[in-house]
Symmetry: C2
Subunit: 249 residues, 2 copies
């Protein structure tokens, strides 16, 4: 059974109407081309896709789309950062993901039926995204079946991350959940320690990990006082990941 959505009060800012602007800067193009969904496309096809897309600028906290809105586009982040979240019937805001430059989002909706956004998307700071018409991408896939392989790989990867999320979220205590989250944030091969940047403000990381901001703060303070992490704003330095893992056991 599906839950019905009733809360819709807190967001007064309107959904953005596109600001037209060409997408032609070198860096942006390079980033786009290095994304698995686009890297296989040959120059002509990519160009055509970009021509049909629009570049959008979002202000801090600006809403890009709403949950359950018909989904005619998916997005590629050029700059800034966004977050995906849901609102439940009592209006509680659940952060599901944060999206960094070079990432795509809402791309899974291409094949939903009917295509509706599964969550809200808002900018965490001023950001630019490329708004790509679902139909344009779909048409291209159909006329160039070889592209489908890359898309399949991409989607399969997404599907796998479900296991990962579930593994963290079935951890029953807040401290260990947070530790697991931090470990996952460490770049691969950083067994000797490393720095991690929280992809969300602390209060939203807390929400993502199903705990209160106060709990998050206290756990971090505790790890800090035990010399397990050093904290500088949203940057955390983890000197001994192995010890952290042992503690979380």
């Amino acid at each position: 059974m599906a839950l019905t959505q009733t809360a819709e009060t807190r967001y007064t800012k309107p959904v953005l109407v596109a600001v037209n602007k060409p997408f032609d800067d070198e860096d942006g193009l390079k980033a786009l081309r290095s994304h698995p969904l686009f890297s296989e496309l040959d120059g002509k096809d990519l160009q055509h896709l970009i021509q049909q897309s629009r570049r959008i600028r979002l202000g801090h906290h600006q809403l890009l789309y709403r949950q359950d809105m018909p989904a005619h586009h998916f997005f590629f982040v050029i700059s800034g950062r966004l977050r995906l979240y849901r609102l439940d019937s009592s209006g509680i805001d659940r952060t599901l993901d944060s999206i960094a430059p070079g990432d795509c989002f809402a791309e899974v909706m291409i094949y939903a039926d009917p295509p509706r956004y599964a969550c809200y998307a808002e900018a965490l700071k001023s950001s630019e995204v490329l708004m790509i018409p679902v139909k344009a991408y779909q048409d291209m896939l159909e006329s160039n079946p070889k592209y489908a392989q890359a898309a399949l790989r991409h989607y399969a990867k997404r599907a796998v991350s479900r296991f990962h999320d579930l593994e963290i979220m079935t951890v029953q205590n807040a401290r260990d959940r947070l530790i697991r989250y931090l470990i996952d944030l460490l770049p691969n091969g950083a067994e000797e320690g490393g720095e991690v940047e929280l992809p969300l403000p602390k209060c939203l990381v807390a929400s993502r990990l199903a705990m209160q901001p106060e709990t998050f703060s206290r756990i971090l303070a505790d790890l800090k006082s035990n010399g397990l992490v050093r904290v500088n704003r949203s940057r955390l330095f983890i000197s001994d990941p192995q010890r952290l893992i042992e503690i979380s056991q």
Copy 2:
């Protein structure tokens, strides 16, 4: 950073070696054909795929594959029921999913690189599965690009379910998590109430919902005493889903 796997003590039963047996019964074939990954295949291709596959019988609690094992096959459930789980470094068992007849699993690994199982899979009761070689399916997709569309739709759907899981798991109290879980189990359109069969033994549902079996039991007892559900073994009758949702708010 990836966590290293150290616990591997509790499973003494060996990984199954295939029992060869043709897959030709009408019901099984019909079920297979109605799965989105196979429904588009024309008869010849499907037949060929089946010929390359093997039918496997699993006993109660028998392990089908282990996490991190190289994944050369994916599976279709003919009968019985399986569960997917992970073991963390302290040996705690986290149930991630249960698989019913007519479902596929490990199919996302087709495109993983390197292809390794992301979790353990074991039979919850005596079961039969069809073991399909990844390569056979992949070859078929490549030689018949039209099939890729169906596969894409399937994978996209899987990816969407991540949001759903996260939405439940970010609910901060056990009672509401359980209620959400039950509501999701209700067939679509059962606003007037209906019966739900727990897809897992209660203690594993509890694990899936990040709570203790005792907590699960107490919450259910409480809902029962408030007339919100009637419980008969693993079958729950929910008379007034709307009221349940209101309570969980």
